[in-house]
Each structure stands twice: as structure tokens, then as C-alpha cells.
């Protein structure tokens, strides 16, 4: 079976700047692939080359076995697209009208009212696009990508600007799409989004692929971490540091806000809570913090530097 997306040795430069330096990747039909990376990593460039908006300098790109530019007419009905830079729809059109217009391009469109409901815009059908909030625009943009029943969708930062609630329902939507056999390529800054959704993750940095695999694979190596909690200010932290496993550290970041760093494992948490209990301190909002994307990058680049 053809890969849904197959990229080999892709290179793209803008003048003197190299945006993509020779990446290869493969998206299997029916999977969710997340392209993770900081701003400027080359995610949008990669996706827009797949969508046929930009041309590569070299390398090959096959979308559903076809060429994104030469076979655009055949591909467009099959591929749903969500641009990074907004809805890209008529500003003066109402949300429902715009969705209806996009539905009219498809032979078997989704029911527009049901789709608006599904993205949480059921009440906003009559609202002009220009009056929608940022998060609402993102949801409309998602609906526009889906209305034609595509088999493959490219979503560039689909949940940027959404509130946490909307984000969660977007995730559920994407999960039901996967369950129904839609292939999804999305870009994101959020590790939790990739963790929740992605079957595979490709971490891009500076136009290269810094790492790929499942998120667990990516974050398991060297699981440094952080725990934050709130407690009365001025705790004697030396005792805590002594109680914690070797290599851990505790500081009071600001008055009453504490940060423990080290290898966050059950032993560390047990030691921390035992010490708090011993002090008669209630550690409020105790939270194990995820490593941020930047942390993953630091680990990745440190690892490759040590090997070379």
C-alpha cells in the first residue's frame, strides 16, 4: 500500500536561508503524525510543499502516491487543509455560509450543521468570519478542512489559539477521524498534544529532523524533570535537599513557590511528600511538570553532541 505521504531528501531554501535541509519521512495511511518543533523549524514549509503551495528545491514528495503540483486536480478533493495563517475565507461571509460554500465543492459533503456543532460552532453559524474569536476561527478552519470528507488532512497548528476546552474537543474530533480511517499530519508546539494524539512524532529543528518515534520513545531517555508546589514561604530547604535522592535540588523560586528538579521518579515523590509531612507542610498544587519541547531538544542535542 502507498504511504499517505512520502518525502525523500527534501530541500528548500529561501534565498540564502535553508529552511529544509534534506529531510525524509513517511506517513502511513490511517495514522496521526505530529510534526513538532519550535518556530522556524520548517514545519509550515514542509506542510505547504505537501499541499502544493510551495515547490521544493530538490527531493521528492508523493502525496497519496501523487505529485502535489502536477496531480493537484486529482489530489485537492482528497486532501483537507488547515493553513497556519488563519481561515483564509471570505471575511464578510458568515461561518455557516462559508462552510456551506466549501461543502458545495464536494460531491459527498458532511452535513454542515452537524459539523459546525461538532467543532463547537453551532451557535456561531450566523456570525461573520471577521467577528469570530481566534479560537473560533481555528475551529471553523478545522471544519473547512473536513467538510469534503478527505482521506488525508494537513493541519498546521490546528489548536493554536484555542482555549483548553476547545482544544480537548478538537483532539476528540481528530481521534474519531483516525478511528474512521483518515490520515492526519499536524504540526504543533505542544508536547501534550502530540502525546495525546500522535502515533508517531517527528521533531524538527532548524530544517532537520532532530528525532522521530513515538513520544514515549522520545522522552524516555534521561528523564530529567521538575516538580512544583506551593507552601508557606521560607521553608528550610537544606533538609529537603538532603532527604531527596542524590542529584536532586530544591529551590524557592519566589515567595512560597518551590521547584524541585532531578530525576522525577516514585522515590523522589515519596521523599518529597514524606519530608513535607514531617514538616507539617501541605504541598499545594504539587505537580510533576512535563518536559517542555525545549527540554527535549536540549536532551536530544546534548545526546548527539556527546556521541560525536
Amino acid at each position: 500500500m502507498d504511504a499517505a505521504v512520502e518525502i525523500a531528501d527534501l530541500v528548500k531554501t529561501y534565498g540564502a536561508r535553508t529552511a529544509i535541509s534534506g529531510i525524509s519521512l513517511r506517513v502511513e495511511p490511517g495514522e496521526i503524525l505530529a510534526l513538532l518543533g519550535p518556530n522556524g523549524a520548517g514545519k509550515t514549509t514542509t506542510i505547504e510543499i505537501c499541499e502544493g503551495f510551495r515547490t521544493a528545491d530538490s527531493g521528492s514528495v508523493r502525496i497519496l502516491g501523487l505529485d502535489p503540483i502536477a496531480d493537484a486536480t486529482a489530489l485537492r478533493p482528497r486532501v483537507g487543509v488547515m493553513l497556519q495563517d488563519g481561515v483564509g475565507g471570505y471575511n464578510a461571509a458568515k461561518a455557516g455560509e462559508l462552510l456551506g460554500l466549501f461543502a458545495s465543492y464536494a460531491a459527498y459533503p458532511q452535513d454542515c450543521a452537524a459539523l459546525l456543532d461538532a467543532v463547537g460552532l453551532g451557535d456561531a453559524a450566523e456570525v461573520p468570519v471577521k467577528r469570530l474569536s481566534g479560537g473560533q476561527r481555528q475551529r471553523l478552519s478545522l471544519a473547512l478542512a473536513l467538510v469534503g470528507r478527505p482521506e488525508l488532512v494537513f493541519l498546521d497548528e490546528p489548536t493554536a489559539g484555542m482555549d483548553p476546552h476547545a482544544r480537548r474537543s478538537a483532539w476528540e474530533l481528530l481521534e474519531s477521524m483516525r478511528a474512521d480511517g483518515v490520515t492526519i499530519v499536524l504540526t504543533t508546539h505542544y508536547l501534550d498534544e502530540a502525546e495525546r494524539l500522535a502515533d508517531s512524532v517527528v521533531v524538527m529543528d532548524g530544517g532537520r529532523i532532530a528525532a522521530r518515534g513515538t513520544l514515549a520513545e522520545l522522552t524516555s531517555a534521561g528523564a530529567e524533570g521538575q516538580v512544583r508546589f506551593k507552601a508557606p514561604p521560607g521553608l528550610a530547604l537544606r533538609g529537603l535537599t538532603d532527604a531527596l535522592p542524590l542529584g536532586s535540588a530544591a529551590i524557592e523560586e519566589s515567595s512560597g513557590r518551590y521547584l524541585v528538579s532531578g530525576v522525577v521518579d516514585p522515590q523522589l515523590l515519596a521523599a518529597l511528600t514524606a519530608w513535607c509531612a514531617g514538616q507539617g507542610v501541605f504541598a499545594e498544587g504539587l505537580a510533576v511538570e512535563r518536559r517542555s519541547l525545549e527540554d527535549v531538544f536540549l536532551a536530544l542535542t546534548a545526546g548527539s553532541a556527546a556521541r560525536s
Partner: protein
Amino acid sequence: MTRTAPSGSMRHNPDAGPRMDFTPKPAAAPLRKMVLSQAAMEFRLIIRNGEQVALTLIVPLLLLVFFNLPMLYSLSDRRIDFVVPSILALGIMSSAFTGLAIGTGFERKYLVLKRLGATALPRAALVGGKTLAILLLEVVQATLICALGFALGWHPHGNPLLAVLLLVLGTLAFGGLGMLVAGTLRAEVVLAVANLVWLVLMFCGGIALPLSRFPDGVADVLRLLPSAALSEGLHRILQDGSRPGWGVLITLVIWSVGGLAAAARFFRWE
């Protein structure tokens, strides 16, 4: 369309509506359907846009009344018989050039055209939809202009079908130029250029002032403008009851072919 019942409560978000069926079934709609819905959308957007309505409907009607007042200059013939064909030509320029250029220029700026390029809508269908919307706008416009003209005592002559043919030719000529401007300049520049050209052509392009008022040499050059050809043709038919003349037709055809070809060649979609 199937709406399945919400699946397991873990997956179902009560605010997210019923579980949709996303099973892929991609196919483009028939071309005719796309063109018609595109045209309907574009027409609704024009009618909803106050500036477009002012430019294409209200201003021409106001100018019809204004130019009919014997203030600016005197005419030997019945004034209204000169003014109505002029305003019909002005209307075409408003809709097919200035309005189209500004509308399309901002669609480009706001990435509407880019986004539409990622849908099943072929570019030909997009252009077709725009053309239909402009033609529909022109029908409304010409109806209002003629109605007001009749109310002011207008007596048209000549073959109305010839006049319609000329209006369509004028639409092609100005539409091509409008798309050329919209597709090559920044939206803010399009706005300025499209309005300025409209004004200049109204006064120096044979619409508001007969070209006979310009010095001979100048008039001969101005006659080659699309506005002048359209206006002259309409006056010959509707005012004099004669034919538009080959010069007029050839001029408009050249502008149409040149403008549309240049637009097709140089138009940038994003």
C-alpha cells in the same frame, strides 16, 4: 449523511455534538454546481459590502442625476440621452474594473485565494463564479440606471441587443484589467490605483465629457481607451440609433484579449 449515536461516554464530549462519521468519501462536486455556488457567494458578498454597493450602484445613480443638471457644460442634444449611455459605461467600469479589482485584491491579501486553491474548486470555476457574479451585478445596475433614466425622460434608440453585446465586451475588457491589477499589486495599492483609474477615465476617458471637447490630437489617443470605446459605442447605438462601428469593437476586443491574457499570465494567487 449518517449521524451515529454518541459512542462510549469516555470519548463523547457532551458539548461537541453527536459523533460524526468521518469515513473518507472524497470527490469533487460537478463543475456547474461549484460555479453557481461560487457566483451566489460572491454576489452576496458584493451586495453586503457597503463600499461596493456605493461604488457600483449608488454613485452611478447619483452621477446620473448630477450630470443631467446643465451645470458642467452644455450639450447640443437632449442631455439625458447623452448621460444615460455614459453612466452605463461608468457602471461597467465600477463593477468589472474598480469593484472587482479591490474585492479580489483584498481576497488575495487575506489569503482567500490561497485557501480556495487548496479546495476542489478549480481556478477556472473561481473565475467563472466571479464573472457570473459581476454580470448579475451589472444586470441589477443597468436595470436601475435605465429605470432612473426613463424617469428622467430618457429616449433610447438603436438595437438594445447591440448595446448588451457592447456591455459584455466592456465587462471582459475591464474585468481582465481589474484582475491584472488585483493579481499583481498589493491590496492597498490596488485600492488606490483602481479608484484613481476610475476617476481619471470618467473625466478623460470619454465618459463624463465627450471626447470632442479635447484637442484633436489628444482625443485621437484617448479614443483608444477602453472606457472611450465602450462609451462611444453605447452613444452611437443608444443616442444616435446607429451601429457601434468597427473601431469601437476592435478596440474593446484588443483590450479584452490583452487584459485577460496578461491577467492569466501575471496573476499571483498569494
